[in-house]
């Protein structure tokens, strides 16, 4: 049972205050939806939680250990950003191959993609896919195992109804396996998650 | 007077270098002062909008 919480988190970008006194906590098996308007600092919050931004006030604690001091923290979360991390000039198959090396884990891609009806895309160039298809492939990275925290930045953008539901299903399954999820969204989601937080 | 303009045979070199020097300095000065005016106007406009 682990717990992630922030204490009086504030972040300044130049003269602008982006985040002001953020306090929340989530436990294993819970999902936190961070809501807010465009430019309200949702992405900044995720980049703090993923240790990219290190100059901020307040603390982020995972199991009462500051994430800035936790050397193993980088192996505990899986961040899916707004960019797709796809090489446009390569086929999906080769993109997945490159991801496998980076994530240091070889997945059975054809099987997993078939589950989402994406297997017909595998030999196409990434540049020929639509934005929604790219997003689906990008979210395919959630299949990499051994993470206790998912950080998802706007995962539902471009997704159609079926894919939205299957992503929600995936998140629920991950929660049942005691995983934590923090996701950002600027629209109302079809399903209520455990916790909601409005910036 | 002619002697001065002639510069001992080096007229082209001396006068062109002085000419280029002061012309460029003046143009540079002008660009900056005009830019400043423009930006001040722009800034006052946005300030009025906010007020």
């Amino acid at each position: 049972m682990s717990e992630l919480k922030t204490e009086n988190l504030s972040c300044k970008r130049g003269e602008n205050i982006v985040l002001n006194n953020i306090n929340f906590s989530i436990k294993s098996g819970e999902t936190l939806v961070v809501k807010g308007r465009n430019g309200s600092g949702k992405t900044t919050l995720l980049r703090i939680l993923s240790n990219f931004i290190t100059s901020y006030e307040g603390k982020v604690m995972l199991n009462d250990l500051n994430i800035l001091e936790d050397n193993l923290y980088n192996n505990k979360f899986n961040l899916i950003g707004q960019k797709n991390s796809l090489k446009d000039n390569l086929s999906i198959k080769r993109n997945l191959e490159l991801w496998d090396i980076l994530y240091n884990e070889t997945l059975d891609h054809p099987n997993l993609l078939e589950h989402n009806n994406l297997h017909q895309l595998i030999n196409r160039d990434a540049s020929s896919l639509s934005d929604g298809q790219k997003k689906c492939i990008s979210l395919h990275r959630l299949n990499y195992n051994n993470y206790e925290l998912w950080l998802l930045d706007e995962p539902f953008v471009y997704l159609d109804e079926i894919n939205t539901n299957s992503l929600i299903e995936k998140i629920n399954l991950f929660n049942e396996n005691m995983g934590m999820v923090i996701l950002t969204s600027n629209i109302n989601l079809p399903k209520k998650f455990h916790k909601e937080f409005i910036i | 007077m002619n002697e001065l303009l002639d510069m001992g045979g080096y007229a082209i070199f001396v006068w062109s270098s002085y000419g280029i020097f002061f012309f460029s300095l003046f143009i540079f000065f002008l660009i900056n002062i005009l830019n400043l005016r423009k930006y001040e106007k722009m800034f006052n406009k946005t300030k009025n909008k906010i007020d």
């Binding site: 130049g14 | 045979g9 270098s17 002085y18 020097f21 540079f28 900056n32 930006y39």
Partner: protein, 233 residues
């Protein structure tokens, strides 16, 4: 060490502006009078050495401005005081103009003295490189859309350039001795007559006043630019 720029400082700079412009023009006119009328021609180079009175000050200020630029970038990294960033950004373009001027007047001076427009010696080559360092600083700042970041990145570049200049000076010097015998160093005047020092001094003062005047105008410009960037976001 933290100096905050207040409105009354800007007002002060604003009110000093006309006086500075007037002083610059005044000193330039006196300098022109001395350098073109009052000083005797050189006994070797004749009247062509009058170009020195504008060439040498601009070369000095080209180097000095880059030192100030790199110095304020270092200070900015140490103290995190945004004032130093504003100083660096307001002074850079003046330095670029001085570098360009020293290159142009230098090569015009070189034609009658050396017989060629350009000589590949260490001083000239490092001056040319210095010009491109200024260009890199100014245009890298413009190329990066996130201006907060652009300032930091271009400041880092300015410091690297400052390290690079002596390396280039050294390597070109070395290359020069290998490829061609130094012909220029013999020509550089062994001692300057007092009658030439006076116009040189006055022109230096005038160039300094120009540097200050335009830098202060650009100082205001940069501050407003910063405010527009901030409110625009």
């Amino acid at each position: 060490m933290y100096i905050k720029i207040r409105n009354n400082h800007i007002e002060l700079i604003k009110s000093a502006n006309p006086y500075l412009i007037f002083a610059t023009i005044f000193v330039f006119v006196i300098g022109l009078y001395f350098s073109l009328f009052q000083s005797p021609p050189d006994y070797i180079q004749g009247d062509s050495m009058r170009i020195m009175y504008i060439h040498v000050p601009s070369a000095w200020f080209a180097l000095m401005t880059y030192s100030i630029l790199a110095g304020s970038c270092v200070l900015w990294f140490i103290t995190r005081n945004p004032l130093f960033n504003v100083i660096a950004r307001s002074i850079a373009q003046v330095g670029m103009v001085f570098t360009l001027m020293s290159l142009i007047t230098g090569s015009i001076w070189g034609k009658p003295t050396w017989g060629v427009w350009w000589v590949w010696d260490a001083r000239l080559t490092s001056m040319l490189i210095l010009f491109f360092l200024y260009i890199a600083y100014i245009f890298l700042w413009q190329a990066i859309s996130n201006k907060e970041l652009a300032s930091k990145i271009s400041a880092a570049l300015a410091i690297i350039g400052f390290i690079n200049i002596p390396v280039i000076k050294f390597s070109v010097d070395w290359w020069n001795t290998l490829h061609q015998p130094a012909s220029i160093s013999k020509l550089s005047a062994p001692s300057i007559d007092v009658s030439m020092l006076i116009p040189l001094f006055i022109m230096t003062a005038a160039c300094f006043l120009f540097l200050v005047t335009v830098s202060l105008i650009r100082f205001r410009l940069v501050l407003i630019e910063n405010k527009i960037i901030r409110t625009g976001n």
